[in-house]
Symmetry: C2
Subunit: 468 residues, 2 copies
């Protein structure tokens, strides 16, 4: 299977875009069976899965449009100057090319959008890389339905053999074997810190190391500054209840840490938040294993339970939080931890001590802008996305999205797994020096037939280049 992927040759942008669009259509064509199968396997609601299917299909179409437009390859042309002294200047033409076969490890919590036909698969295929998927054991029938659709689309669109495949077995050992396979050139992963780090370590221990883009854990701290707490404590408690309990708390961007200055208003806020969290409707978790892990996580911090129910509010002070490593671990499920700070200085200091995060959120009022700026200065070093007066759940799929962050949120803070920029993970540049025109890729010829943006002698342009 990996050998077939390695023998694959990128069929060019028009074919690739057509394939991605056809895969999207075929996934829609499965119809209700996909949604119902997935709902049975994951306990997620039909509504949620219908929305997730739309997101999955839109991602495939977004990458098809990106590939068709073409400028993502970052074409650069520096024209020759044969008369330059002391040495002539060569003609240099550079663009991005596919990195090679990619292994995608599917997520448990997005059985469609971060799974077999999810963002990693779509962006790797769009980059021109063949993909070998390792499905998540939590939703095997869903995975097979989706994989079958992609394979059918590949056949219909006459993709070269090896463009897409899925391994049957979903064991950890098979996953490691894939990462160690000499023909695999990159890895996409969404899951636990432990799992992501194991793949990262295996990939870097190879004779030829390869990049691993693992999106792992995150506490997603949410800071409530004093005036915002004073003015909007009820509204924030309601917003947080919804965000923490969304999808039974099984989102990588769930706000798992609330940080605020201690005050009588904070007591009222905590009481309201705890009460509302305890009263959310009961939810079944994705798998029994995840459910069991959630119970274990809660038992590790049971001394800090302020209110229990269908979702948990934990609470502590900043000193205890700093001293107790167990409080700093992500709890995957419906729970969040309130940390009471002694002062706003303490709150800023706590921000500066955090590990890497996917997101951080600030609730603030206009009059506390200076304090907010100090907080932003710290959070820029800690989180990939900073949300203002909102909630981190709900990751927009768009060009300006950055879904990533410093370790341990991901293994590479320079790349996103959501949005069009995700394609950049799976490509490397190649430079052609003094090449004859007929051997250059179409995108680097003088005639800019695809009308893409190119950096010509340092200036962005869509123009053709006039021969000397």
């Amino acid at each position: 299977m990996v050998e077939a992927a390695a023998a694959y040759r990128n069929p060019g942008p028009e074919s690739l875009a057509g394939f991605l669009e056809r895969a999207a259509e075929m996934i829609v064509a499965i119809g209700e069976d996909l949604i119902l199968t997935c709902a049975r396997e994951t306990a997620l609601s039909v509504d949620r899965l219908t929305g997730e299917r739309a997101r999955t299909v839109n991602q495939l179409k977004m990458f098809a449009a990106l590939v068709r437009e073409g400028s993502w390859i970052d074409a650069r042309i520096d024209k020759a100057n044969p008369d330059r002294k002391p040495a002539p200047k060569p003609d240099l033409r550079r663009m991005l090319t596919p990195l090679g076969p990619v292994t995608v490890f599917c997520a448990s919590n997005f059985p469609l959008a971060f799974s077999v036909a999810g963002g990693d698969t779509a962006s790797a295929l769009a980059a021109g890389c063949p993909v070998v998927v390792k499905p998540h054991p939590g939703h095997p029938k869903t995975s097979t339905l989706v994989a079958t659709s992609i394979i059918k689309a590949a056949e219909e669109c006459r993709m070269p053999a090896g463009a897409f495949s899925m391994i049957e077995e979903a064991s950890i050992q098979i996953g490691l074997d894939l990462v160690r396979h000499p023909l695999i050139k990159a890895v996409g992963f969404t899951g636990s810190t432990k799992g992501g780090r194991a793949l990262f370590d295996a990939a870097n221990a190879r004779p030829e190391p390869i990049p691993v883009f693992a999106e792992m854990g995150s506490l997603n701290p949410l800071f409530v500054l004093p005036a915002a707490l004073e003015n909007r404590w009820e509204q924030i408690a309601t917003g947080l209840t919804a965000s923490v309990s969304l999808g039974t708390g099984q989102f990588c961007t769930k706000p798992g840490l609330i940080i605020a200055q201690d005050s009588p208003v904070l007591d009222r806020f905590a009481a309201r938040l705890g009460e509302q969290l305890s009263q959310i409707p009961p939810g079944r978790m994705l798998t029994d294993a995840i459910s069991k892990r959630f119970e274990e996580s809660i038992s590790m911090v049971q001394n800090f339970i302020q209110q229990k129910g269908n979702a948990y509010l934990l609470a502590t002070d900043s000193k205890t939080f700093r001293a107790d490593d167990a409080l700093q671990q992500e709890i995957f499920g419906p729970a969040t931890l309130l940390v009471r700070c002694g002062s706003t200085d303490d709150l800023i200091e706590l921000a500066s001590e955090l590990e890497g995060q996917l997101t951080a959120t600030i609730h603030a009022e206009p009059q506390e802008s200076a304090l907010a700026q100090s907080l932003v200065n710290e959070l820029r070093e800690k989180a990939g996305r900073i949300v203002w007066n909102g909630y981190p759940t709900g990751v927009e799929v768009a060009p300006a999205m950055h879904h990533g962050g410093p370790y341990p949120a991901t293994t590479d803070s320079r790349f996103t797994s959501v949005g069009t920029a995700a394609i950049q993970r799976f490509a490397k540049p190649i430079c052609y020096q003094n090449f004859p025109h007929d051997l250059l890729p179409e995108e680097l010829r003088n005639n800019n037939a695809r009308k893409i943006w190119r950096l010509v002698n340092g200036t962005l342009s869509k123009e053709d280049i006039l021969p000397e």
Copy 2:
């Protein structure tokens, strides 16, 4: 020292650009003393070092211009749509920000252009990262002269403390300690595969792994196709002699492997090349250690010496080359290996079996374009830069340059260490969601005061954004 670097705050593009330009001026202001000191320490000629100083200074100025122009930060803005169903679309604004303190390991063979004020330092500083340099032990006085100039420029330009520093000691252990220091966020390195891999392994074994951009070894294969050999064998022998012996063979892009189909013309070519190489003027190597390593490398392959003198021609057939690992190792110094293939199929197959390379070169005539295309298809997977009818030495500093390649040429094939794109190694994206305008960085506000290129709702533009 590392603590001071970590406390550094990026002073903004105008200050940074001014600092880089002032550093360039201060290096020039050292005058003849820099060139003569460096010549004494490295045995490189005054002419060569005068050229290398110009390259170093131009690199600093190039990055200053890049920072001042500003579009490199890849600003992206997706405007909000509060009316979107089922959920409102947030306002997302994303740009690149500095990765954090960078350690730069200096090269032996470019005591100015890949050393204290070389491409790694210039690109990291330009990205807004503070730099801690580990000098190369081969040219300590040169390193101190240059470091002193940069520090003076930093003081004059009122850079924040920690912007630039150089450690005094150049031991391997100090280097590893730097890579393991928790406040260091990235590493640039130019040197041996063994050294680069050791730093890469140390960086990835950290609790928080960090990227290592190590530019290591490369054979830089040069393919001569039959018609080119027939028509231009004398010219190619002369060109190769100059390229192989340039700087006493101490370039990372030295063509160390010549691959051609066996024929009577190849015999004539080999005889001529061997004769010319043996007659180049004697050259002193950079250090005694490098000289000793060169002698050791030659002794490992002494059975294959076709002609010896001041530079060596080694020769073998493709079968022996494949079987003998010693022949596949880079020899740093004035030597190159000719591999005779049984057929052009054998030549293409050999190309497909190569390890990662910084460069590959093809000599071909227009009538053998189909064969050349087959070769290009293989070399695209193997090398960062493909040179046509030329020689790989002489790495142009330009936007379209890619000086990188698959492992073991570098530890990360996605990035270049030469040219403007080198800045991308030292930056990570950050996304601001629904931020108030006064807390956004200048580059992401509606008013595009710096007139940079921005991707606004998916379209590149220099325009201001009209508020809703």
